[in-house]
Symmetry: none
Subunit: 98 residues, 2 copies
C-alpha cells in the first residue's frame, strides 16, 4: 500500500555510478537501492560499498524511499570505507574562475 499511495512502485531505471576519484563512470539499470549497490560494486570493482551519495552535493542515499525519488540518470558516487565525497572538480574550477 505504501507504494500504491506514493505512486512510485519500483521499476528498472537508469543511473550513472562513479567511484570516489570519478575516474570511471558506468551506466546501470536498477530497480531498488540494494540492486543498485550490488550492480555498482560489480561494475566498478568496489569490494565493499560503504556509502552511496549524490555526485552533485554528497547527499547520502540511505533509504529505499529516497532512492525511489531520484530522477533517471542521477549520478551517484560509490564510496568505500574511509572514502569521502569531495566537491566536483569542474565546479571548483568554475568557482575559482569567477
Amino acid at each position: 500500500t505504501q507504494q500504491l499511495l506514493s505512486g512510485r512502485a519500483p521499476r528498472p531505471r537508469p543511473f550513472r555510478v562513479t567511484n570516489s576519484e570519478r575516474s570511471v563512470k558506468k551506466g546501470i539499470i536498477a530497480e531498488t537501492l540494494e540492486d543498485l549497490m550490488n550492480k555498482a560494486s560489480d561494475s566498478l570493482g568496489v569490494q565493499c560499498v560503504s556509502d552511496l551519495v549524490l555526485d552533485e552535493d554528497g547527499t547520502g542515499v540511505d533509504t529505499e524511499e529516497f532512492f525511489q525519488t531520484l530522477p533517471e540518470n542521477a549520478v551517484l558516487v560509490v564510496l568505500e570505507k574511509g572514502q569521502k565525497w569531495t566537491p566536483h572538480p569542474c565546479r571548483l574550477q568554475h568557482r575559482t574562475d569567477v
Copy 2:
C-alpha cells in the same frame, strides 16, 4: 516480459559515434549494443573497440539494458584499448573563458 513492462523493446534507432579525438563523427542506426559496436568500429575504422562511453560525461555503456534507455541521437565515443574519455573541449574552453 521485462521488455514489455519497461516498453523498451529493441528497435533500430539512430546514434552518433565519434572517435576518442572527436575528429570523425558518424550517424549510425543500431538495434542493440553489439550492433552499434560492430557498425561503429567499421564506420570509424577502429580495429578493436575497448569501450563505448557517452560523449557528455564519459559514462560507460556496458550493458544492453542501459543502452536501450539512451535517447535517439545520443553521442557515443568509441575507445580503443588504452584510450580514455576526456571532457569535451568546448566545455573546458567555456570554463576558462568565464
